[in-house]
Symmetry: C2
Subunit: 568 residues, 2 copies
């Protein structure tokens, strides 16, 4: 089943649902609407459908392997990467000063979703480079920017992020990698990093590693961490990749999925590095990058959800089964239709939330308005966790639609399920996202949350005449979410930790319903979007009640079992 | 993390929660309680923990392969199988007349859960033989019984089930495999069958295929199907496996998981077969076998859930992460504890439901009482679907607890997730189970359902003095389930199809809460079971509300999107 980029869906959401019009009304992004937007979506859609989609199975069937220290990539990936780079897609939102297109993040994320949906394992490569571009734009010296940004933006060079070490996952502050000043303004980096996506590639002219390490005078914990640029090949005086740096890929992980994306253990042995940002300021730089990367990972989940939905619908529309002599296909069976409707409704809800998140980022960037920045910050953990939860659940349902064939690898349904599973884990597990939401993101006393909830209620009010049942349901759920927010604000951190995931999921349900209702309003009623809105609001939104009950429990009963009793 | 069979848990549930005492009060099973029960559970637990658990990774790392027409099995599987067979576990519930132990199905399922949890891919082999034994006991001629049952019960020979064909999955009636009478009382079977688990094994002295096929005068559809015994090696006059029959393994499927279990495409070319049961009576024979197989598959899900829970708890108790200088492990983190508590609570709920189902089967078998038979029939689709849903969800949560390590195959967390995924599909997808529940199983006007709901309410009444909040919550949910049952009874089949899965899941939540409450009552309050009951009833049971809302929608809005619109 070939992937078909959902170009029309993006056009509709951007034009009518998620407020993209506000972005193109700013001076900075005045050119990014209308024909420009159409051209970007159409062209990226073509790339995804025609060039990248056909590579999806290659990555799984012919995983990247480490041979004599070099990562040999899957068949066709070099050409696919080249097509992404030559289309200018890596630098779509990068600063035009260094060759970027300077377009809104909303368009970048739309494009990225299509690339992710077509071939996630390859798409991860430019995504990491995009994160690196952003970090360098915000934190690097002008010299480093001038040297690295044009190469990264053109895709000639590739970027990675090196945070994790065996003993330091979520707890980044425990890292042991060392950096020592070399006297000439550079540093010697030594240590081992794990889970380095696309740590190397045989089609990379250069690989630029951003590495977190601790200087000799760095205090323990996150406040003593600095960020370094450590290129695989050290650029010579002409800016060409020169001498090999003292770093290597030790091994590649045997993962459950994403086999086309090499996940490396990297070793640095007094490798030459350049400081990015100020000394001991590494976490701030990483956070810049991580916030957008989190939205980006949410978008990965949504991309896979779209692809898995398309594949399941296509299978169900072809698979004959039924009464003797009947020529029915399983798409006519109510339970199969329920599964497909759920997949479609969840995918579109998650997409709308993520795009609204991107719009908030663009508005914050274009206007400097703190309210937009707070909105973006609030939505980021929701976009990441809900987008990737939806990715996993939709892929699981996709297998179910395929029946026995879903368990057989040839259909590709299993690959979606395996590939997407990591998205709820990396860039901060979904549990960490939820803790971020009930912790940092409510440190404003809930202001950003209450503002958003009020907007949801106002929109529901406005829709009431046209869609009384749906509007009531959305308004009521939003009001419950307001109560839950107040309840969470009064909890201690242990209780917040116990209810964080339920609170996040409840919030996502309210927002999903809100954007479905907005789509129905924009459609004018009675079309497919209205039908889907009704399905989501009347059949899926009621799950909010169960989540709300869980939130209200706080930490009650969480310690009822000792560790030994939990073990069984 | 080595698997540890939950022997104590079985003992507690059988002695205090699921009514096993009624079984041992019958004449037929008078010997199956007390010391006998303890010995069975202890001995099977030892086999699972010490012999089979260590084979789990072998099946994944060294899958079964087809070489020159022979299925080479994973290292150690031959010895593991021998240990299962020599322990007498295959014939634990088989008729003593042919060498079985004649013990209750409740004990068989308890033993099977431990074997499944230890190594699912190997466990599938004796499970299929058990299904075949049951089918032969009920439907075969005395001659066939005398020849095959002793060999199957001893494990010298193995059994398979051959239903599915490429065009005939759920719709078994569409099968094309032919049987022609040979004049000498035997038949010539020709056709291709797919998804044949353990279609062959290099350690099998003989493989006995039960094959559904159509006789020349068989009408189209299920009513023209007959069942045949088609052995790989035709027994000679001494009952030894003789001449090769005309059948072969064409290929093995490339599956997402269960790699240790060879899933064969089988081809029969005028293979010699013997009729089992009457001509055109194949479906009735298959149904006998399938009902218990469905419970057995639910038990597979629960076995994997137990194993995944143990592995996650062990990992969380060892994995250090936390504040600088802290030596905390992640099991102390509220969100991790929430995940582990959920895994434990769901696993035990599903186990109690499945064992109550087995008790009902034993009571029906021992007493011939129609009420027990109806109870068993009602619970079967719930045990199967909830047990396997829990298997998948718990395995997914297990990955999440492991964080990045969960996506790396070495931990084994990913294997649970991949292996268990097929259980929601085979032996009738969980959608089919739900349709069975809202269709056939409510054809009594809901009598069996209402009777069970009333028992749940009575138990809640009785528990109210001791556990007022929990009892209220259970009673209320049961009352809603009664309303839902009445609502479903008034729906047409399209609407029932649309709400079937939600109705089944809602029912499972009520029953899970019921058995947790019963465990708390049996414990006397304030112990770990009471804590777990509180967790389940107060934090998970509220999901019932969302499911109930979905059921009440009937088929409303299901056809809002055309097939093209669903495709995106």
């Amino acid at each position: 089943m070939p992937y078909k980029a959902p170009v029309e869906e993006f056009r509709f959401l951007l034009n009518h649902v998620v407020g993209y019009g506000q972005v193109t009304e700013t001076e900075r992004f005045a050119e990014a609407g209308g024909e420009m937007m159409d051209a970007i979506l159409t062209e990226a859609g073509r790339l995804a459908s025609e060039v990248l989609g056909p590579l999806q199975r290659n990555g799984d069937l012919h995983p990247a392997v480490l041979e004599n220290g070099v990562v040999r990539t899957s068949p066709g990936f070099a050409e696919g990467y080249k097509a992404i780079a030559e289309g200018g897609w890596i630098g779509i939102s990068a600063d035009p000063e260094h060759g970027g297109m300077g377009l809104p993040i909303t368009l970048m994320e739309s494009v990225n979703e299509m690339i992710n949906g077509a071939c996630l394992s390859l798409a991860l490569n430019p995504l990491l480079t995009q994160g690196q571009i952003e970090a360098l734009e915000h934190h690097a010296s002008d010299e480093l920017k001038a040297l690295y940004l044009p190469k990264l933006i053109s895709g000639e060079w590739q970027g990675t992020m090196n945070l994790t070490e065996p003993q330091a996952g979520t707890d980044v502050g425990a890292l042991r990698t060392k950096a020592e000043p070399d006297g000439d303004g550079t540093y010697r980096i030594s240590g081992q990093k794990i889970y380095i996506s696309w740590g190397d590639a045989d089609f990379a002219e250069n690989v630029c590693h951003l590495v977190l390490a601790r200087l000799p005078d760095g205090v323990p914990g996150t406040k003593g961490i600095s960020l370094f640029m450590v290129p695989r090949n050290i650029p010579d005086e002409n800016g060409k990749p020169g001498e090999r740096n003292s770093l290597r890929v030790v091994s590649l992980e045997h993962k459950m999925g994403l086999h086309g994306s090499p996940t490396a253990v990297m070793e640095y042995t007094e490798a030459k590095g350049w400081l990015v940002g100020r000394e001991h300021g590494g976490m701030a730089a990483m956070f810049t990058m991580m916030n957008n990367a989190r939205l980006g990972v949410g978008i990965q989940g949504i991309g896979v959800a779209e692809a898995a939905t398309q594949a399941a619908v296509a299978y169900a529309a072809e698979r004959k089964q039924g009464k003797v002599g009947g020529a029915g296909t399983i798409i006519e069976f109510p339970d199969v239709r329920r599964m497909l409707m759920t997949m479609r409704a969840e995918t579109q809800a998650a997409r709308a939330i993520a795009l609204a998140n991107a719009v908030a980022l663009d508005m914050a960037n274009a206007t400097g308005d703190a309210g937009w920045a707070a909105r973006a910050a609030l939505l980021t953990p929701i976009s990441k966790a809900y987008g990737t939860d939806v990715g996993c659940e939709v892929a699981a349902t996709g297998i179910q639609v395929h029946g026995g064939m879903g368990f057989i690898e040839e259909t590709g349904a299993a690959q979606f399920y395996r590939d997407v599973r990591v998205t709820t884990i990396y860039e901060g597990t979904n549990g960490i996202q939820a803790l971020d939401l009930v912790g940092r993101k409510l440190m404003d006393g809930g202001e950003a949350a209450f503002t958003l909830i009020s907007e949801v209620e106002e929109a529901a009010e406005a829709a009431r005449a046209q869609f009384p049942r749906l509007a009531d349901a959305v308004w009521n759920a939003a009001e419950v979410q307001r109560d839950l927010t107040e309840a969470v604000l009064e909890m201690d951190m242990d209780a917040r930790g116990a209810v964080a995931v339920a609170y996040l999921r409840a919030f996502a349900r309210v927002l999903g319903a809100h954007y479905h209702l907005a789509s129905a309003v924009a459609e004018g009623g009675n079309g497919p979007r209205t039908g889907l809105a009704r399905f989501y609001v009347m059949r899926l939104l009621p799950q909010h009640t169960g989540l709300a009950a869980e939130v209200r429990m706080g930490s009650e009963g969480m310690d009822a079992l000792s560790n030994e009793e939990l073990a069984g």
